[in-house]
C-alpha cells in the first residue's frame, strides 16, 4: 500500500516538476508547480509528519504558488510566449543536472542511510516545538529577526509615494 502510494507520489512529483519546467504556458506551468509542491506534502504524510505536510500545503501551495501565479498574470503576453532556445544550453543543462544527481546520490548512499532503523515511532511535533524554544532558541530568534527585516525591507522598497497620491481619489 505504502509502496503504491510512494510510486504514485513520485510519478506525480517528478512529472509535474518536468511539466512546470517544460510547458509553454506559464499559467499551466505554475499549476504544475503546485502539483509538485503538493506531491512533496504527500511525501511528508508518508513519513508520518502531518504537521510539516500541512504547513507545506498552507505555505507553499497556498501562498508561494499563488504569488507566482499572480506575478505571471501581470507579465505581458508577448514576454510569456517569447521563445529562447539554444541546443548548447539545453545539453549543458542536462549535463549539469546529471552531474548534480550523481553527486548528491553518491553522498546520500555514502551517508549511512541504509543502516537507519525505520520502524521507530514518529516524532511528536510538540517535542519539536519544545526544542525550538529551549535548545535552539538563538536560531529561532535569528530567523525571526531576519524574516522581520526582510518583510520590513520589502515594504519600504515597494512603497511609492508618487503613485499612491495620484491614484487615491480625494
Amino acid at each position: 500500500m505504502v509502496d503504491a502510494a510512494f510510486l504514485a507520489l513520485s510519478v506525480l512529483t517528478i512529472g509535474t516538476a518536468i511539466a512546470a519546467l517544460e510547458m509553454r504556458s506559464l499559467i499551466y506551468g505554475s499549476i504544475a508547480l503546485m502539483g509538485s509542491l503538493g506531491g512533496i506534502a504527500g511525501f511528508f504524510l508518508l513519513l508520518d509528519s502531518p504537521f510539516v505536510a500541512m504547513f507545506q500545503i498552507a505555505v507553499y501551495v497556498g501562498s508561494i504558488a499563488v504569488l507566482i501565479l499572480f506575478t505571471v498574470m501581470l507579465v505581458k503576453r508577448e514576454l510569456i510566449f517569447q521563445k529562447i532556445e539554444d541546443p548548447k544550453r539545453k545539453f549543458a543543462g542536462i549535463g549539469l543536472m546529471l552531474v548534480l544527481m550523481v553527486g548528491i546520490g553518491s553522498i546520500i548512499l555514502d551517508s549511512g542511510l541504509k543502516t537507519i532503523v525505520t520502524d521507530e515511532p514518529a516524532v511528536d511535533y510538540r517535542e519539536i516545538g519544545v526544542d525550538f524554544v529551549t535548545y535552539y532558541w538563538p536560531a529561532l530568534i535569528a530567523m525571526a529577526l531576519i524574516l522581520a527585516g526582510a518583510v520590513t525591507g520589502a515594504l519600504v522598497l515597494a512603497r511609492r509615494e508618487d503613485v499612491e497620491d495620484e491614484q487615491r481619489a480625494n
Binding site: 499549476i31 500541512m54 498552507a58 501551495v61 497556498g62 498574470m73
Partner: protein, 437 residues
C-alpha cells in the same frame, strides 16, 4: 393571483390522479424494484447477529420497516454515511440550501419587501427547488476565448474544496469525517486553496470583469488569511492541541469566547472577508463589476459555485462554534428513549408494532450524546450564520484600500493583543494545563 385551473372538473381530477397512481405502480414494479435489487447485490452487506445479510434477506427487511432497524444501524456506522450524509456533504448542503432561502427571506423582511413568495404556496418555501431546476435546465455558455480546462474545473474544485473543509468539522462526539491530529492546520491548508481557484477561474474566463474581481479576491483573501490564522492561535495556546475534537472537549465548563473575545471578533471579521460577504464583497461587487469573478459562469456552473460558497459559509460558522462557542457542549434537552418502547415496541391502543434491534440502535448510534450534541451544534451554528447574514442588510460595501488597511494594520494588531492575553492567562496559571480553572 389568478385562478390556476379555471375549467376544473372533479371527474377529470380523479381520472388524472388514478392515472398517475397507475403509472407510478408500473414504473416502480418494472424499474424501481429491479434497480434496488441489483444495487443490493453489488454493495457490501453487514453481518447481523453472526449471520451475513443476503440480498434477499435485506430486501425482506426493506419491505418491513420494523425489521429494517438493524440495517439502518449498520448503515449509519459506515464510512459512506459519514462522508456523504451526516457530518459530511449532505448535512452541509442541507444547511447551505436552507441558508440561501433564509437569507433571501431575512433580507426581504429587513428591507420591507416580501421576498420569495409564490413558489410552493407557503411563503415561497419551494423557491430554492425552483431555482435549482432553473439552473440545471439552463445552457452552459463558455466564452469563446476562455481557457476551457481550467474554466470547467474551477466550479467543481470550488465545491470539492468546500467539502474538504466540511470534512474536518466535528459535529457530535465521535462524529467527524476526518479526525486528524493537526485539524486546525488542515483547515488553514484547505482555506489556502480558495484564492487559487478564484484567481484561476477569473483568469481562464478571459474577460475583463472576472479578472478584476479575481485580483480583488486574491488581495482580500491572502491579506485576511494572516489575521485569521493569528486570531486562532490564542485557542491553540490555551488548549495545547490542534485537534478540533479535543478543542471542543476542552470547553465543557466554559467557552473560549469568554476569555478570548478579541480573538473571536477578529476571527468573525476575517471570516466575513474570506466568505466575500458584505461589507467585504468587493470580488463580486454587483453594482461595480457586474458579478465580479462569477460574471462568465452560467447555468449549473454558477449553481455549483453558489453551493460551494454557502457550504463554505456553513463550514466557517461551524468552525467558529467549534473554536469559541463550545461545539456540541450543552445541557441535556432531549429526553432519553422511553424504556417501554425499547422493551415492548410501540403500543397505541389496538395497534402494536414490535421493534427488534432498537435497543442496539439507541445505544450504539442514535444515542443521547449524538442527538443532544447535534441539537446544540446546529443551534449555535444557526445563530452564527444569522450574524453572518445580518450585515448584508445593514452595511454598505467598503473601498479596497480601506479593506486592506483594516486587514494589515488593525486586525493583525488586535490578533497579537489576543495572543498576549492568552499567554498572560497561561503564565498567570489561570488557564491551560495545570491552571486554576
Amino acid at each position: 393571483m389568478s385562478v390556476i385551473a379555471p375549467k376544473f372538473r372533479l371527474g377529470h381530477f380523479i381520472k388524472s390522479i388514478t392515472n398517475d397512481i397507475f403509472w407510478i405502480v408500473v414504473l416502480i414494479t418494472l424499474i424501481g424494484i429491479p434497480v434496488i435489487f441489483i444495487v443490493l447485490f453489488y454493495i457490501d452487506l453487514p453481518v447481523l447477529d453472526g449471520e451475513l445479510v443476503t440480498p434477499f434477506l435485506a430486501f425482506t427487511m426493506l419491505a418491513h420497516p420494523e425489521l429494517s432497524i438493524p440495517l439502518i444501524d449498520s448503515f449509519m456506522n459506515t464510512d459512506f454515511f459519514r462522508i456523504a450524509i451526516f457530518p459530511g456533504f449532505g448535512f452541509a448542503a442541507l444547511i447551505a440550501g436552507s441558508t440561501i432561502f433564509v437569507e433571501r427571506k431575512l433580507l426581504a423582511k429587513l428591507q420591507l419587501r416580501v421576498g420569495p413568495f409564490y413558489c410552493g404556496k407557503i411563503e415561497g418555501i419551494l423557491q430554492l427547488v425552483g431555482d435549482g431546476l432553473k439552473l440545471l435546465s439552463k445552457e452552459i455558455i463558455i466564452p469563446a476565448k476562455a481557457d476551457k480546462p481550467i474554466f470547467w474545473a474551477a466550479p467543481v474544485l470550488f465545491v470539492a474544496t468546500a467539502a474538504a473543509f466540511v470534512a474536518l468539522i466535528p459535529v457530535a462526539p465521535g462524529w467527524v469525517v476526518a479526525d486528524v491530529d493537526v485539524g486546525l492546520l488542515a483547515v488553514f491548508a484547505v482555506i489556502g486553496f480558495f484564492p487559487i481557484i478564484t484567481v484561476l477561474s477569473s483568469w481562464s474566463a478571459n474577460s475583463k470583469y472576472p479578472f478584476i474581481g479575481g485580483i480583488r479576491a486574491l488581495h482580500q483573501m491572502i491579506s485576511f488569511e494572516i489575521p485569521l490564522i493569528l486570531s486562532l492561535l490564542g485557542v491553540v495556546i490555551l488548549t495545547g492541541t490542534l485537534n478540533l475534537t479535543e478543542i471542543v472537549q476542552s470547553q465543557t465548563s466554559y467557552w473560549w469566547i469568554i476569555f478570548l473575545p478579541i480573538g473571536a471578533i477578529v476571527f468573525f471579521i476575517t471570516m466575513l472577508a474570506e466568505l466575500e460577504r458584505i461589507p467585504f464583497d468587493l470580488p463580486e461587487a454587483e453594482s461595480e463589476i457586474v458579478a465580479g469573478w462569477l460574471t462568465e459562469f452560467s447555468g449549473m456552473m454558477y449553481g455549483l459555485v453558489q453551493l460551494g460558497s454557502y457550504i463554505k459559509l456553513y463550514a466557517f460558522a461551524a468552525l467558529f462554534v467549534v473554536l469559541f462557542l463550545g461545539g456540541w457542549n450543552g445541557f441535556g434537552v432531549i429526553p432519553p428513549t422511553p424504556p417501554e418502547i425499547v422493551d415492548f415496541g410501540i403500543q397505541a391502543g389496538p395497534i402494536s408494532v414490535d421493534l427488534p434491534g432498537i435497543e442496539k440502535l439507541t445505544e450504539r448510534t442514535l444515542n443521547f450524546s449524538l442527538i443532544n450534541g447535534v441539537v446544540w451544534f446546529v443551534f449555535k451554528t444557526v445563530i452564527v450564520i444569522f450574524f453572518i447574514l445580518i450585515p448584508r442588510g445593514v452595511f454598505p460595501r467598503v473601498r479596497i484600500d480601506l479593506l486592506l488597511h483594516i486587514g494589515w494594520y488593525k486586525l493583525i494588531t488586535l490578533s497579537f493583543v489576543n495572543i498576549f492575553i492568552a499567554l498572560g492567562l497561561l503564565y498567570a496559571g489561570v488557564l491551560g494545563p495545570g491552571g486554576l480553572l
